[in-house]
């Protein structure tokens, strides 16, 4: 497992890098509006009415943006959580922790692809 992780390290790092760079840029607006402004009533719920939301999301660009803002932060999250674990004396358990975290990000990413593809 350690050898496999070592060989995948460049791929993981690229996904992490995309997550922290592109993911941060995409997720901020989502958090602002979908996470905060609409639920608190700051912005009318009409903005996210089913028809409008579906129309935006099922557009080619909409699908790509959604895929990016779902999957990329997961890789940033998984990688940073792995480092957090190592920093707190987790070098020994890394052979277990890392595959679990990256596994979660992989499953989440596949689910994200399905979620945007079926719109």
């Amino acid at each position: 497992m350690k050898d496999l992780l070592l060989r995948l390290e460049p791929v993981i790092w690229v996904l992490f890098g995309a997550g922290i760079l592109v993911g941060t840029m995409l997720i901020t607006g989502w958090i602002l509006i979908v996470g905060l402004a609409v639920p608190t009533g700051l912005v009318s719920a009409d903005a996210l009415a089913f028809g409008r939301a579906y129309g935006l999301a099922s557009h080619f660009v909409g699908r790509l943006v959604l895929l990016g803002l779902i999957a990329l932060p997961m890789w940033k999250g998984a990688h940073h959580m792995r480092h957090l674990s190592i920093d707190h004396g987790g070098a020994e358990r890394d052979a277990v922790v890392a595959p679990i975290l990256y596994g979660i990000a992989t499953i989440g990413s596949i689910a994200a692809i399905v979620a945007v593809a079926r719109l």
Partner: protein, 112 residues
Amino acid sequence: MRLYTLFGATGIVYLLVGFVALRVVWNLGEGPEAWAAVLEQLENPIYIAFHALALVSVVFVAVRFFRLFPKAQPAFIGPVVPPPRPILHAMLYAAWIGITVVLSAILAGVIF
């Protein structure tokens, strides 16, 4: 606690925010009822508190990472010479703010 520990800890928030977004988009694919249900869930104070924490996290990550990113670029990347560090730093902010403003405007129904 050092700042880098807090930086790493935002990973937990990022992973969760990705899964919350996945759930929201998944429900959109399920149809109008599921969509209405998930939007109602987002009004739960726990979700609102979580998204407030997420907003603080992404701002913290952006500010720290945009500062660290320029110097992590080699003097040349193949034939490409990256812009000077202060300019690259400014470009990251411009991209982040620009994308956030446009995406927010679209999601809030201001444009499109």
